[in-house]
């Protein structure tokens, strides 16, 4: 699991059939010093994370398989939104 900052939303033109109705976000992975990763990531969001917020991401596809079936390629799912008050001070 790792922390990531939400940068925006992805509108799909087509997607795997198991992921119908999912919300997709663009995010950047955060390092311990608060710097952001060089490559954007696309996350599946179940919680309604807003742009600019810091989230916890799991790269295990188990929760995606549970919700969307065994044939889903979904992998990176937002597991929670970091409370900025209890975060590192750099969150939000």
């Amino acid at each position: 699991m790792f922390l990531a900052r939400i940068d925006g939303t992805v509108v799909p033109a087509a997607k795997h059939a198991t992921l119908e109705g999912c919300r997709f976000l663009v995010a950047q992975r955060l390092e311990a010093d608060g710097s952001a990763g060089a490559e954007p990531l696309v996350l599946i969001d179940l919680l309604g994370a807003a742009s600019g917020s810091t989230v916890l991401v799991s790269t295990d596809g188990d929760i995606a398989r549970e919700r969307y079936g065994n044939t889903t390629p979904g992998r990176m799912v937002v597991m929670g939104i970091v409370d900025p008050v209890q975060g590192t001070g750099r969150a939000a």
Binding site: P12, H16, V26, E39, L41, A64, N70, T71, T72, R75
Partner: protein, 96 residues
Amino acid sequence: MRLGIVRGHVTLTPAVPELLGLTLVVLEPVTMANLRAKNGLGGGKSLVAVDALGAARGQMVAFTEGTEAANPFWPNRAPVDAYCTLIVDSITTGKS
């Protein structure tokens, strides 16, 4: 998932049976700087992924890596570690 731009297609002759009939695309991963600049450039190290969505050259896709990339072939197994999960229509980035 990471984002990548389709740069071409791969045809295998011959291939292992598990890959016969699949469409393979060459992807160039997109860096955050290039995504923000909307310049059509990638910048990452290219890789090959399975595409069942019909992505065309120049289109941006989000691709899954790792064992989850073989999930669409369940209950069969496939020697696949990258899979195009969605084709991007548009991306809206807010504050950085």
